[in-house]
C-alpha cells in the first residue's frame, strides 16, 4: 500500500464530501417495467440510474456518477467501485467472466486515477453448474488478480435454484488510493484538449456477439480484456496535471463514453473517423451486421483526454507499452456544437455520434 501523506492534494473535482449536493434530477422514471435495454449501458441505463436510483441515495460523491466513487477517508483520497458481471457465454475467445470481473473493476479504479489495492468478489452460482466450470473461473480470477497485482481479500457465495441464473454471475468490489499525480475530472476539460485511445476498438463486443453462435461467423478475434493500470501510470507520468479525464469505454463503446462526458457541458468532441484504430475483422463484422464500431464494447482500451501540449508525450508513452502500439489521437475538444460528439470523415462529411440505444443489434436486411 502507498503511504498517504498528511496533506494530500485536493483538486476541486475530488474529495467532495463538503461540496454542495448536485441538484436533484429533474427526470422522473416513467418506464412501466425494467427491460433489457435498462441494463445495456446506453440511454435507458442512464435514465434508470439518474432518475430512479441516484435520487434516492443522493449525495455529492454519487452525484458525479463516475466509474468509481472518489472520496476522502482519513485524509487519503480513496476510490471504490463495484461492478456486476453477467455474460453469455461464460468463456469466449480471449477471456471469461472471471477475468472480466477482475479486470473490469481494476480498470474502473484505474481510470479514476487509482491503483487497485484490494478486491472482493461475490459469486452467484446456479445449482447444477459443473464444479469444473466454477473451478476454472476461480483459477482465472486468481491469475487475473495476480497479473493486475491486487489481492482478492474477501467476498460472498450464493447458490440459486436451477433456472434462476445463467450459470454464474460475479460481482466484484474494488478499492484503491488515488494517485497523487492525478487530478482528473470532466470539469478540467478545456477546448483544444486531445482525445487519445489506447488501441483498436470493438474486439471484445464483436467477440462476444460472435461467440454466442447464432450468427455463425468465424473470426480469429478475441476479447481485449486486460488491466489498464500500466497505461494510466504511464499517462500520469507523461502528462502530470495535463491528464484531464480517462474512461474505459465498455458497454456502449467509445460513442457512449464520450457522449456521457460532454452531455450537458459547454464542450463538444470531434473525432476523426479514419484515425480510430480498428481491426479489419471488427470492421468486417460491423459492415456485415450494420453496427457502428463506436458503439461496440471494449474491455481493454481506454480513452484519455489530455492537454494539447502534452499530447505527443502522452501518445509516445502509450505506444511504448506492450499492447499500446496502436494508440492514437482520435480527436479533440471543441466549443461547438456544445454537448455533442461528432465524427468527421476523410472526405469532409460530418455526423453526430449518438449514445447507444439498447444493445447493439445487427441490422441484417
Amino acid at each position: 500500500m502507498h503511504a498517504s501523506t498528511s496533506q494530500p492534494p485536493q483538486p476541486r473535482n475530488v474529495d467532495t464530501l463538503d461540496r454542495a449536493a448536485a441538484p436533484a434530477s429533474r427526470l422522473r422514471f416513467t418506464d412501466a417495467q425494467i427491460e433489457m435495454a435498462h441494463g445495456a449501458g446506453g440511454k435507458a441505463s442512464r435514465r434508470l440510474v439518474e432518475s430512479l436510483i441516484a435520487p434516492a441515495f443522493a449525495n455529492p460523491v454519487l452525484a458525479q456518477l463516475s466509474d468509481a466513487a472518489v472520496f476522502s477517508l482519513g485524509g487519503t483520497r480513496v476510490a471504490t467501485t463495484a461492478d456486476g458481471y453477467v455474460v453469455k457465454p461464460l468463456r469466449f475467445p480471449g477471456g471469461s467472466i472471471g477475468e472480466l470481473a477482475v479486470n473490469g473493476t481494476v480498470n474502473d479504479l484505474a481510470v479514476s486515477g487509482a491503483r487497485a489495492h484490494a478486491l472482493m468478489a461475490t459469486l452467484i452460482v446456479e445449482a447444477g453448474l459443473p464444479s469444473d466450470v466454477l473451478r476454472a473461473e476461480i483459477e482465472t480470477m486468481a491469475n487475473a488478480a495476480a497479473r493486475a497485482g491486487v489481492p482478492i481479500v474477501g467476498g460472498d457465495t450464493k447458490v440459486v435454484e436451477h433456472g434462476m441464473a445463467d450459470g454464474l454471475y460475479v460481482t466484484t468490489f474494488g478499492i484503491g488510493i488515488v494517485d497523487q499525480r492525478a487530478s482528473l475530472g470532466p470539469d478540467r476539460i478545456v477546448s483544444g484538449d486531445r482525445v487519445l485511445l489506447t488501441g483498436p476498438i470493438g474486439d471484445h463486443g464483436i467477440t462476444i456477439l460472435l461467440a454466442r453462435g447464432d450468427l455463425d461467423f468465424e473470426t480469429d478475434l478475441h476479447s481485449d480484456t486486460r488491466p489498464l493500470w500500466p497505461f494510466v501510470d504511464a499517462l500520469l507520468e507523461a502528462c502530470g496535471s495535463g491528464l484531464r479525464w480517462m474512461r474505459d469505454p465498455t458497454r456502449g463503446g467509445v460513442a457512449t463514453a464520450l457522449n456521457e462526458l460532454v452531455r450537458g457541458s459547454h464542450h463538444a468532441i470531434a473525432i476523426s473517423e479514419e484515425r480510430v484504430p480498428l481491426r479489419d475483422e471488427v470492421r468486417g463484422a460491423c459492415e456485415l451486421l450494420g453496427l457502428d464500431p463506436l458503439h461496440i464494447a471494449n474491455e481493454g482500451q481506454m480513452l484519455a483526454l489530455v492537454a494539447d501540449n502534452v499530447a505527443d508525450a502522452a501518445l509516445a508513452a502509450l505506444r511504448a507499452l506492450p499492447g499500446g502500439e496502436q494508440a492514437a489521437c482520435i480527436g479533440e475538444v471543441r466549443d461547438a456544437p456544445a454537448g455533442m460528439v461528432i465524427a468527421t470523415t476523410a472526405y469532409g462529411g460530418t455526423r453526430v455520434v449518438d449514445m447507444l440505444v439498447g444493445d447493439p443489434l445487427p441490422r441484417i436486411c
Binding site: 461467423f217 468465424e218 479489419d280 475483422e281 468486417g284 456485415l288 450494420g290 436486411c365
Partner: protein
C-alpha cells in the same frame, strides 16, 4: 444490408454452399442464385442474409473508378469523360 465478400472455399459436398470472407470474418453462404456459370475461390460476390445475390463485375468497377478519376483532370479530358458517360445514357436498355 449487403456487403462484398470473397469466395474462399467451395463446398465439394453441396455446390449450393461456399465459404466467403469479409475482411477476416468468414461464413458459409448459399451461392445457388449465382451458380450459373459456376463460382470459384477468389470470386467476389455481394452477400445478403446468408446468400450471394450477385457476382461483382471487376471490369465494371474498374471502368467506373477510372471515369471518376478522369473527372478530376483538366478540361479536354473532362470533355471526353462527359461525352463518354455522363451525357449519353451509359447502358441503354436493349
Amino acid at each position: 444490408m449487403a456487403i462484398p465478400g470473397q469466395i474462399v472455399e467451395c463446398n465439394a459436398d453441396d455446390p449450393l454452399f461456399a465459404k466467403v470472407d469479409v475482411a477476416g470474418v468468414r461464413r458459409t453462404i448459399n451461392v445457388g442464385l449465382i451458380a450459373d456459370p459456376g463460382i470459384r475461390p477468389g470470386d467476389w460476390v455481394l452477400i445478403h442474409v446468408g446468400f450471394a445475390m450477385s457476382r461483382i463485375e471487376e471490369d465494371q468497377a474498374r471502368e467506373q473508378l477510372e471515369l471518376l478519376r478522369m473527372l478530376g483532370e483538366e478540361m479536354p479530358a473532362m470533355e471526353e469523360v462527359r461525352g463518354y458517360a455522363f451525357s449519353d445514357s451509359p447502358e441503354a436498355p436493349t
